[in-house]
């Protein structure tokens, strides 16, 4: 082997495995299933609450600590149509995230991976989130 040949060989070895490797298939090639939806919903509701939910929580605590005038501003904002939309949205995000989060606890111990069981709970978790949200607001508004 000549020196240029040897250099080419070493270079090829260094790049081995970095070109034309098979890529992991991405979202668009999969047939959609409820397990994919519940996974994405878990992330969206969680990260949504991290911004909107915690902001409202701090506003509520800050308004209470600030005195009656600041609390009046908070309650005015939260009882506007947009305010109710935000509060209902946060409560829905919480109950949905709670349902899919408890599903994660079962998956963590290795349960619920059978196709039928996985499909069933992937459908039930978002449904449970909506049902609990309706029940919560019914309790608040109808008492």
């Amino acid at each position: 082997m000549t020196l240029p040949q040897a250099r080419g060989f070493v270079s090829a070895m260094a790049n081995a495995g970095t070109k034309n490797r098979p890529l992991s298939p991405h979202l668009q090639i999969w047939k959609w299933g409820p397990h994919m939806f519940v996974s994405i919903l878990h992330r969206v509701t969680g990260d949504g609450m991290a911004f909107a939910g915690l902001a409202v929580l701090l506003w509520w605590l800050g308004a209470l600590a600030g005195g009656p005038a600041s609390y009046a501003t908070f309650t005015w904002a939260m009882t506007t149509p947009i305010g109710y939309l935000v509060l209902v949205g946060i409560s829905w995000a919480f109950f949905s995230h709670m349902a899919s989060g408890i599903r994660h606890f079962f998956l963590d111990v290795g349960a619920g991976f059978e196709l039928q069981a996985n499909r069933l709970w992937s459908i039930l978790c978002p449904v449970l989130g909506v049902v609990l949200t309706v029940a919560f607001w019914a309790l608040l508004l109808l008492r």
Binding site: M13, A14, T18, R43, G46, D47, M49, A50, G53, L54, L57, L58, L61, G62, L64, A65, G66, G67, P68, Y71, A72, T75, F94, M98, G101, I102, F105, D108, F136, L139, L140, R143
Partner: protein
């Protein structure tokens, strides 16, 4: 990361070594969230009204005050861990990722400090 030897090309690309710790803390704080937020939800359902006087009288009591302090700590911690995963999944540039994680840590610590301070202020009667 060099492009010479095999070891040079893969160095720094392996696991971060803290993954299990992050994963476990996400679960521990999830349990904390479950308990503390359900405490808040049940309390809101049981409270007679949401006037200033009623809310302050409720949150100033020892058990609700401590529960709300724990709620602020556990939810912000959990959110910080969750948003870190979001940053790591969608920000691929090292500098942007570092800046986002740094901002996230500041926001989470600031949120916890503000929330806990507000509750302590109400509970110790310094409000209004």
């Amino acid at each position: 990361m060099g492009n010479g030897t095999s070891i040079g090309r893969v160095r720094g690309l392996g696991s971060a070594k803290g993954g299990v710790h992050h994963w476990l803390l996400q679960r521990f704080t999830a349990i904390g969230n479950l308990l503390s937020v359900l405490f808040l939800i049940v309390s809101l359902v049981l409270l007679p009204d949401y006037s200033y006087g009623t809310m302050v009288e409720w949150i100033a009591r020892p058990v609700p005050a401590v529960a709300m302090i724990l709620l602020v700590v556990t939810t912000f911690w959990h959110a910080r861990l969750g948003l870190q995963v979001l940053v790591e999944d969608y920000l691929h540039d090292h500098a942007n990722k570092f800046a986002a994680i740094a901002a996230l840590n500041l926001a989470a610590c600031g949120g916890i400090a503000f929330g806990v301070f507000c509750i302590v202020r109400i509970a110790l009667g310094a409000h209004a």
